[in-house]
């Protein structure tokens, strides 16, 4: 199978108060076409940093990043790659539908087609009737769904997601997992999904890459072979889920302790 995202010995050093701080160290990973990979690790271990380097938002200090076999070009981010932020980054001065249609507008898609595709996206995200609202008058879950659709509307084949549901309550989060899994089952994008929530990683992914506490290195990898399509709620009640959960939990717990001491 083709490799769509690859990093070789990727590293990042930040200068903090005149001293060098190694945030990411020697990360080599390869993600196959159509694979859903979760990047799991304690807070501050460099998950966002890795993702941002792949997304061209941040220059890397060492190593290589290849998307579809090509070294990435920081000046021209690939149109094939979509990015969903950890923070809410909807444009507050645009209505929900204007936010979702934004990328189409940039690409010069005609107004009619834009409206049609935006409406479809709104329906897909369960946001019918909210197109004319401004983001500030939506709930956090609705905003995150809108943000997801803003990225998905141009149908990127590769998705980089940075804890997109991190700020949501458990119930809303499970709802979002359902929405995301539905879309992914249909489109089979290649996904790199950052999270520090083990349950989320198990629900969504085919493979979990566990990072160590800072500096972020790959500590261990786990294959998540639960059958698909998955249901975010009932999956959690299966013994296979519980078994894998406790196995990874132990390994992850060590890193949380280290992270807290650092």
């Amino acid at each position: 199978m083709t490799i769509r995202i690859e990093t070789r010995d990727l590293g990042k050093t930040f200068a903090v108060d005149g001293r060098d701080m190694r945030a990411v160290d020697g990360v080599s990973l390869a993600i196959r076409e159509g694979e859903f990979v979760a990047l799991l690790g304690p807070s501050g271990c460099g998950k966002s940093t890795i993702l941002n380097m792949i997304a061209t938002l941040l220059p890397n200090s060492s190593g290589e990043i290849l998307v579809d076999g090509q070294p990435i070009d920081r000046r021209r981010p690939s149109r094939n790659v979509g990015y969903v932020f950890q923070r809410d980054t909807l444009f507050p001065w645009r209505t929900v539908q204007a936010n979702i249609g934004y990328a189409l507008e940039l690409a010069g898609v005609a107004a009619d087609e834009r409206r049609e595709r935006t409406q479809t996206a709104l329906a897909q995200a369960g946001l019918q009737g909210f197109g004319h609202y401004y983001p500030t008058s939506l709930s956090g879950g609705m905003r995150q769904r809108a943000a997801l659709m803003r990225t998905l509307i141009v149908q990127p084949q590769i998705l980089l997601m940075d804890e997109p549901f991190g700020a949501l309550d458990t119930h809303t989060k499970l709802e979002m997992h359902r929405v995301l899994l539905n879309i992914w089952e249909r489109e089979k994008q290649t996904v790199l999904f950052v999270t520090h929530d083990l349950g989320e990683a198990l629900t969504l992914s085919d493979r979990i890459i566990l990072l160590s506490a800072r500096p972020g290195r790959i500590k261990e990898e786990f294959t998540v072979d639960f059958p698909r399509p998955r249901d975010a709620v009932t999956l959690r009640e299966t013994p296979a889920y519980a078994a894998l959960f406790s196995r990874i939990w132990h390994s992850l717990g060590e890193e949380f302790v280290k992270g807290a001491q650092a």
Binding site: W93, L106, P135, V154
Partner: protein, 288 residues
């Protein structure tokens, strides 16, 4: 407190002030310790006289105090007699205020945006801006009149001068504080540099620009009046100076009242427009 109670209090206070203004000074000879000298109608006139003066200055009544007829041309004859009658003066002042406001906010916005987004330009121009900003703008008004003459141009330039810095500093702050994640999001969604400027930097800076528009329109009016004080042939400011030269307190007061009304109307319009354009803001912030 209910709205009605509030309204009643407001009417009562206004009436009370008017009564003191109208009749207060007649008590001066008997109670000199109570009635301040400032209430002398020679300085501040009184409501009835101001109303009379308004009717005359606006050509609504003739010299004998009889209502002018529109049909037989009395009104237009009266209007033609004075090149700076109340209507013309108001119109001129209003026109120059709006022009100064438009030029001031546009140039302030463009400058603020350009410098706010360019560290290099900021580094070069910072000392000049600080120096220029520390000059009391009023001090420049006589020079502007000298350079641009007694007509409209000098008033527009004065208004521009007081508005441009206000808008510039607001826009500059706004342009600096554009959310970097918004810019990143736009770039990753395929926006070119120019598209980022147009669809992210300008709209998010606009919010800061709007915050400065209400003070800016008031400043513009101040600038125009100031210019008219120093040298003008027409305008409300000119009316005030003329009335002062003739020792006509009522004439000055009419002009002041007209300014007040113009000021309130302009500020209300700007606030309405601003609230509409900022409707995407959380309610509490937009209604400030």
């Amino acid at each position: 407190m209910s709205r009605l109670t509030i309204l009643l209090w407001q009417v009562a206070i206004a009436l009370g002030l008017a009564v003191v203004w109208e009749w207060g000074y007649s008590l001066h000879d008997r109670l000199p310790w109570l009635v301040p000298e400032l209430l002398d109608p020679y300085f501040v006139s009184k409501p009835s006289a101001i109303y009379d003066q308004f009717l005359h200055a606006s050509c609504l009544v003739d010299k004998r105090g009889i209502w002018n007829d529109w049909g037989n041309g009395q009104f237009s004859k009266c209007m033609a007699r004075s090149e700076n009658n109340l209507w013309v003066a108001t119109l001129i002042t209003l026109k120059n205020t709006l022009a100064g406001f438009a030029v001031g906010t546009t140039s302030g916005f463009v400058l603020g945006l350009a410098l706010g987004r360019s560290d290099r330009l900021t580094a070069i121009f910072q000392p000049f801006i600080v120096a220029a900003n520390s000059i009391p703008r009023i001090a420049l008004a006589p020079i502007i009149i000298l350079a641009f003459g007694l007509g409209d141009a000098s008033k527009i330039v004065t208004a521009w001068l007081v508005v441009v810095f206000l808008v510039f500093f607001n826009t500059f702050e706004g342009a600096r504080s554009v959310d970097r994640d918004h810019i990143s999001a736009a770039r990753l969604l395929g926006a070119s540099e120019w598209q980022i400027t147009r669809t992210v930097i300008v709209p998010s800076t606009m919010a800061w620009l709007f915050a400065s528009l209400t003070p800016a329109i008031s400043f513009a009016l101040i600038g125009v009046i100031l210019g008219e004080f120093i040298g003008a042939q027409q305008g409300i400011g000119r009316m005030i100076i003329e009335a002062e030269a003739r020792g006509e307190a009522a004439g000055m007061m009419v002009a002041v009242f007209v300014l007040m009304i113009v000021g309130v109307i302009l500020a209300t319009i700007v606030r309405r427009v601003q609230n509409h354009l900022l409707r995407w803001r959380p309610q509490s912030a937009a209604n400030l």
